[in-house]
Amino acid sequence: MAGILISLVLLTFMAVTAFYVLRLRHLFSVVMLTGVFSLLSAALFTNLDAVDVAFTEAAVGGGISTVLMLGTLALTRRREKVPETLSIGPLIIALVTGAALVYGTLDMPRFGDPNAPALKHVVPEYIEGTANDVSMPNIVTAVLASYRGYDTLGETAVIFTAGIGVLLLLVWRREEDEEDEDGEKEDRA
């Protein structure tokens, strides 16, 4: 019961934060509020006993991406332009998508239902296997690194590719700029 109450309070805070992210035009505050939003959702995940996810959310969403957003902000302007006309199309799309998602959740099994289809397929095998074959207390780690090792290798490759991509885009650009400047100096000389 207390768990549900805490979840409700956190969800309310998240809704309020999201509302202010929409309303505010001062982008520094917006970035800070998205960090707050991530931290609140991390607390929500902890409350739902998904500690590993909460960890990731707090470190990536609340920490690193906030810092990266601030770094981006330093390169652009700090105020959002106020749109001159209210565009109806995107509003309708957002409302319809939201309604469809809410409608979809009606058919979902209750939270923590042991008979949910997702928990019937391979999960019992993993739970037994983690105890017998892997003998590790943290099932999440066993599933990530052992049962789903291919997927995790793919994820690591994705992170690697993303990092290389950012480095190529930003570092190359900078070196080109520097070359241009050098070229100009030579021209002047």
Binding site: F28, V51, D52, F55, T56, A59, V60, G63, I64, V67, L68, G71, T72, A74, L75, R78, D133, V134, S135, M136, P137, N138, V140, T141, A142, L144, A145, S146, G149, Y150, T152, L153, E155, T156, A157, I159, F160, A162, G163, I164, V166, L167, L170, V171, R174
Partner: protein, 145 residues
């Protein structure tokens, strides 16, 4: 932010604890919550905090670009290398059981190696991305914020 004395002192106090916590999450991930990804991000956060407070140049002395260039692919190679090692030892790709003769020892060793690879790549990529962002010319002065 070199003029903020409180920030500097508190940062210096906090960084060792953040790093220790990162290592704990990395190497205790099979018993408690966490694992390579979370540990990598936490360790990267420690270095990013250092760079934020003490400046990019100081942080670059701690983690030189050359080290990052090695660490970013090294993690992926450790992960894939574990898979290749299991292949060479007669198992399937990423089938850790062949790594050690005992019942579950192979799984433990394999998961340890793989998580270590993930942590290395994640930490190095996060630090590298932050360094590249922070190295771009800033147009806003401290006072403008």
């Amino acid at each position: 932010m070199k003029h903020h004395l409180v920030l500097r002192v508190v940062t210096k106090l906090m960084i060792p604890f953040i790093l220790i916590f990162g290592l704990y999450v990395q190497f205790h991930g099979d018993f408690g919550p966490g694992g390579g990804f979370q540990a990598g991000v936490i360790i990267a956060a420690a270095f990013i905090l250092y760079a934020l407070v003490f400046g990019l140049e100081e942080a670059r002395k701690v983690v030189p670009d050359g080290a990052l260039r090695i660490l970013v692919p090294a993690g992926v190679l450790i992960f894939a290398g574990t898979g290749v090692a299991t292949l060479l030892m007669g198992g399937k790709f990423l089938d850790y059981d062949v790594l050690r003769p005992s019942d579950t020892g192979g799984q433990h060793l394999g998961i340890w190696l793989v998580e270590f690879g993930v942590g290395t790549t994640v930490a190095a990529v996060m630090i590298a991305i932050f360094f590249t962002y922070a190295a771009r010319p800033h147009q806003i002065d401290d006072e403008d914020w």
